[in-house]
């Protein structure tokens, strides 16, 4: 029997679990929308001379798309797999004949679905409410950034479960890396206003190239396909490193009772 129906059953169950988890739903799907609306509401949607007359919302939208993807991928997977490991789901599932990749496929599939839906929602609001011009010629750049970014943050999220020793500390430990990274990567604060040293550090981390690649795709002055080669390469390297650590060091049994 083929494993495809198994993978679909797993995805269906994982989507259900996500839907019924109010915290996951809020942080991944609703919070980025709230941020977008608040930022435009507070700081206005005027055209900015220092950004070649681009509307403020055109700068905010890619930033909050990045935040949504990081939440859907990195945060959900790091917390979700830690929970499944610590409450024994992973250990037990490993004793069934189901191949491990199906367990990953279900969760990663859920991350992709939520990332795509939240991105679509943000783009719809950005375009219909705030008049953001959606990428047309730079559509390949947008899709490439979303694809490579989702891959990188999924891999990093799964790898990061190695660092988290129990379910209770999972939210704190994931936010401890994600929140500062948002601030220094141009999500909440314009990247150009950050001190040089901070900018150099941020450029080595995965969030800044992701935000930058999305901004390039949304920038109306971008000509051509909008592919940000350097950014995408950095993201891909982070993703490959995450994948390596995830494959190499992923733990299936609860850390609490290992002995």
């Amino acid at each position: 029997m083929s494993d495809l129906p198994r993978a679909l059953a797993q995805l269906k169950a994982d989507l259900r679990i996500f839907r019924r988890n109010p915290a996951a739903l809020f942080f991944t799907a609703i919070l980025p929308v709230i941020f977008l609306v608040l930022f435009v509401g507070i700081f206005g949607n005027q055209r900015l001379a220092e950004y070649d007359g681009v509307r403020a919302s055109t700068l905010y939208l890619p930033a909050f798309i990045a935040l949504a993807v990081v939440s859907s991928a990195f945060v959900s997977l790091a917390m979700g797999f830690t929970r499944m490991r610590e409450n024994g789901v992973l250990k037990r599932v490993r004793a069934t004949p189901v191949p491990p990749w199906i367990v990953f496929a279900g969760r990663i599939g859920t991350s992709i679905v939520t990332a795509v839906l939240t991105t679509a929602l943000l783009m719809a609001i950005g375009s219909l409410v705030f008049g953001v011009t959606l990428p047309t010629n730079a559509l390949p750049g947008l899709l490439a950034a979303l694809a490579v970014g989702t891959f990188a943050f999924c891999a990093l999220g799964i790898a990061y479960t190695r660092v988290i020793s129990n379910e209770e500390s999972a939210p704190a430990l994931t936010n401890a890396v994600v929140l500062p990274m948002y601030f220094i990567s141009g999500v909440f604060v314009p990247f150009r206003q950050l001190p040089d040293g901070v900018q150099r550090i941020a450029e080595l981390l995965p969030a800044q190239p992701f935000v930058d690649a999305l901004r390039i795709a949304f920038d109306p002055h971008t000509t051509g396909a909008g592919l940000a080669g350097g950014d995408l390469l950095k993201l891909a390297i982070w993703g490959a490193a995450g994948l390596f650590f995830a494959v190499r060091f992923f733990g299936w049994t609860p850390r609490q009772q290992a002995g």
């Binding site: 198994r6 169950a13 019924r20 024994g88």
Partner: protein, 311 residues
């Protein structure tokens, strides 16, 4: 050694954690279709042994065959034939009982019907409830259902009724006894000796990493187990030694005389005949056979048992 009717064969199994030898040369054979209870105090090597059988841990030495396969080299086909109930629950709280079983049924090539499995675990009324809202006993029964959904040949039950109230335990026992009817082999780990006595065809008691007793619950104690104990309060003013069986009697803490006999019917007849003839009543008369618990406590509390304590 690969007997065709063997579900589990263990020979000379050893496993250490650092300097602590958890299992030290354990040998054990479980036949297909039997309910086998694996007993022992905490730290005796029970969980280590079971986790090696289930393929979760690697051994240091010894031969292990589970359904003819070394669990260290288990493949998907082998996992299809094994069902496991771990000590901790393993289901996601957001899914309902039925949704959980639907997902798990997809893991196996030839799953049991879902409704039938729900009924077998006695969860019909909870099928639509989220796992997170089940009671401890109901979750445990869901774990049993998950162990059975793949229609395995061999089921490992690790303390399946710990924390159950007496009614829930009886219900769980019915489920486990039902597995025998389905022809499953059951490897049961438990702290409850009445549970082993009620369910198991054979039991093994593990202590200090080795088996110290093995056999049918009623045979386990050896010759002593054949003896029946008769207890009663000696009638006032009667010398115990003058009663039938009296010379061999001992006086218990509760003031009752205790008689041990291999022929309880005859001794009882004599005693009762004597009492009737004397016109006296044998107060608090009780006839009992040693339980598995008596045997277990005797073995486990033997002096060597205190030698090693796992921390």
């Amino acid at each position: 050694m690969a007997a065709a009717d063997a579900a589990i064969e263990i020979d000379g199994l050893r496993k250490s954690y650092g300097r602590f030898e958890a299992v030290r040369g354990l040998s054990l054979h479980v036949r297909r279709g039997e309910i086998f209870a694996f007993l022992g105090p905490n730290g005796a090597g029970k969980t280590t042994t079971v986790e090696i059988l289930e393929g979760f841990r690697k051994r240091d030495a010894g031969e292990v065959r589970v359904l003819g396969v070394d669990p260290e080299h288990a493949d998907r086909a082998w996992r299809t034939r094994i069902g496991i109930v771990l000590q901790e629950g393993q289901a996601q709280p957001e899914l309902t009982v039925r949704e959980t079983l639907e997902l798990w049924a997809a893991y196996y090539p030839g799953p049991r019907p879902i409704d039938e499995t729900i009924a077998l675990a006695g969860l019909e009324e909870k099928a639509g409830d989220r796992v997170g809202r089940l009671s401890g006993g109901q979750r445990r029964r869901l774990d049993v259902a998950l162990a059975l959904i793949g229609d395995p040949d061999l089921v490992f039950l690790d303390e399946p009724t710990t924390g159950f109230d007496p009614v829930a335990r009886r219900a769980a026992w019915k489920v486990i006894a039902g597995l025998r009817e389905l022809g499953k082999t059951v490897f049961l780990t438990t702290h409850y000796l009445d549970e082993a006595q009620e369910l198991a065809d054979r039991v093994a008691i593990v202590k200090g990493g080795v088996i110290v007793a093995e056999g049918a619950p009623r045979d386990l104690a050896g010759p002593g187990a054949q003896e029946t104990e008769i207890a009663f309060v000696p009638p006032p003013g009667v010398a115990l030694a003058s009663m039938p069986g009296g010379p061999a009697a001992t006086l218990g803490d509760d003031g009752r005389a205790l008689l041990r006999t291999q022929m309880p019917t005859r001794l009882l007849a004599e005693l009762c005949g004597w009492a009737a003839a004397q016109g006296v009543e044998l107060e608090r008369l009780e006839v009992s056979r040693p339980t598995l618990e008596d045997v277990y406590l005797e073995l486990v509390e033997a002096p060597e048992a205190t030698a090693e304590v796992a921390s």
